[in-house]
Structure formats: structure tokens, C-alpha cells
Symmetry: C2
Subunit: 187 residues, 2 copies
């Protein structure tokens, strides 16, 4: 929600612009329309000798809990770039052979979470600024009760399910408060 025009600094008001059908913040002075849209969060499941790389979060939300490397996609990069960059930043990890894996709608918080799967190039990792520690976990040792986010848990569940079945199938999921229940599809 915004109160002032980012272009001219004058107050904005909620109204439906011409040709639109929903309320936006519109500047009363210069006419600038402020659109707000869902953000993409990109992450990666990186495997090394059968183990999966996780990061323990140093920052809120969910500080102290474990996550896959992930974060907001930035302007000017591709989704694969974003997943690889987050792996570098959060775990000093180099991602290879990346394939799209889960596409998860989280409408309750206006986000779409997309996870790639790939290989941890050389097995090396160490905590970046946003991580307390990084570690490789076998399926049996994944800290399921200490995972930071539902989309990370869902992605890991599908990863191990597919790995056991011998075939990775990209998945689309709908989650969050607005979904009456969690919905899972094979893409």
C-alpha cells in the first residue's frame, strides 16, 4: 500500500483507472498508476552424492530454521540465474544442470515460489550472510520439523518421491489460506 506518488511525490488515492477493473493507487497530480503484482521467489534443490544442501536461516522470517537456498528474483536476470545466485549468496554453492521442478502458487502472500533442481557442482558450501550454517542432508536426516517454509517442505517431499520412483516430474501446486486444501498436480 502506498500513500505518495513515487514519480512526483504528491498524494495518491485508491481508484479504478480508465480501462481497468480494479482499484489501484493513482496519483491525483500526475496520473501515475501504481501497480502491485505477485513476486517470484526462486530456489534450488542441489544434490551432492545423494545428499541435499540446506541452509539454516540467519534472518527473519523463520530465523534458525532450515531452508533450501531461495529468494526474490531480481530485475534483469532469468529464473535460473536467480536460483543459482541465491545458492551462491546463501550457501556459497555452485549450481549445475538446473531443471525446473516445482511451481507453487502462494496467493495468500502474493508470491509464486519456483524451485529448480540441480547438482552441487563440487560439493563445496559454506554459510553466506543470510545463513547461520549450511549442511548436506541425506533423505533420512532432513530436519522436517525444522523447515522454515511449507513450499520448501513440499518441494523436498516431491523431490524424494520422484527420486525413489526414478523419474523427476515437474509439479504445480496451489497452497496457502485461499486454497481450501493443498492442491498438487503433475504439470
Amino acid at each position: 500500500m502506498i500513500s505518495f506518488c513515487p514519480q512526483c511525490g504528491h498524494p495518491t488515492h485508491q481508484r479504478i483507472p480508465a480501462g481497468d477493473n480494479r482499484k489501484r493507487n493513482v496519483c491525483g497530480t500526475c496520473g501515475y498508476i501504481h501497480y502491485e503484482n505477485p513476486r517470484l521467489v526462486l530456489g534450488a534443490v542441489l544434490e551432492w552424492q545423494g545428499d541435499i544442501l540446506l541452509c539454516r536461516r540467519a534472518i527473519e522470517p523463520r530465523a534458525g530454521l532450515w531452508t533450501l537456498p531461495a529468494g526474490f528474483m531480481e530485475n534483469g536476470e532469468s529464473s535460473e540465474d536467480a536460483a543459482a545466485r541465491e545458492s551462491r549468496e546463501e550457501a556459497h554453492a555452485h549450481a549445475d544442470q538446473m531443471r525446473l521442478f516445482t511451481f507453487i502458487d502462494v496467493p495468500a502472500i502474493d508470491q509464486v515460489h519456483v524451485f529448480y533442481r540441480g547438482i552441487l557442482r563440487d560439493g563445496r558450501h559454506s554459510p553466506g550472510e543470510e545463513s547461520l550454517e549450511t549442511a548436506l542432508f541425506s533423505e533420512a536426516r532432513i530436519p522436517w520439523s525444522q523447515l522454515a517454509f511449507q513450499t520448501v517442505r513440499l518441494t523436498l517431499e516431491h523431490y524424494f518421491e520422484d527420486r525413489r520412483a526414478g523419474e523427476f516430474k515437474p509439479r504445480r501446486l496451489l497452497t496457502g489460506k485461499r486454497a481450501k486444501r493443498l492442491v498438487r498436480w503433475t504439470v
Copy 2:
């Protein structure tokens, strides 16, 4: 690019916030950080008795050219909701049996285009406010030279290729000026 703080209306300046590694517009008065991230465009390939629904654009960019129903995903909706809503708004079309089909990075314009494929429920369609006309096209009659966007062309090419092969395979593509060449992967 913004010049004034949307929260307090005072001038913003480009600087790297603490704990970040890239320049953002930051308010010198209240400290608000203005993040700008890629936007999701959602669309649909809707089939009816073998034909595909296209819309001729009434608005810029590319007014007068043909497109699949598509537009910016809105806060509070899922990606499938967005593709179905755009189909209703642009073509008064009802989408059924939607499956994720193409996921296309367009980093040159800070967008990700995602197309679902589905069925036009009852064969009915007519132009919405943003369309001059709507029509169903057989593969042979698709107006390839009159398509509005590269991502629409790529999605249609893959759709017909997969339909001929008898199996739809979700695709991830990287396109735009920053890609040295167009890159295509099966997800």
C-alpha cells in the same frame, strides 16, 4: 525508477541498503526501501474442436496484432486464476482443464511469461474491452506473421509440435536480448 518515497513522499536516493548487495531506491527520511522485481504475465492456449482461440489486440503495445489471452498476474490470485481471468476479460472465454505448459524468461523486460493450456469450455468467445476481435484458428490458419509477441509464437509452436507428437511436454525457455540465442528446454 522512482524519485519519491511511496510511504512518506520525501525524495529517494539510489544506494545499497545494509545486508543487500545491489542499489535500491531508499528514502532519505523514513528509510523505506523500494524493491522492483520481475512481473509474471499469465496466458492460456485454449482449444475447441482442434482450433485455438486468439485475440486481436485493441490496445498498445502491438495493437491490431493477434495474441493468446494473457496479462499481468494480480495480487491475491493463483497463476491458473490469472490465466482464466485473462481469458474471460480479453475473449469472454471460459477455460477448463488447465495445465502448466510454457515458462518463458524474458529478462530484457523484467518479465516471466507463463502459459497454461486448456479447453475452451463451450466454444463461445467474443472480444472483451482490450480486443478488437476473437477467433478460432486451425494450425494451418494461425496468422504467424501477425502475432503480437515472441512468447506467444513460441508457445504456439511448441503446442502444435507436441500435439502432433501426441504428448504435451511442459517447456522452459529463455528469450530476449540478454539471451545470446533463444534457448529451449523440456522442463
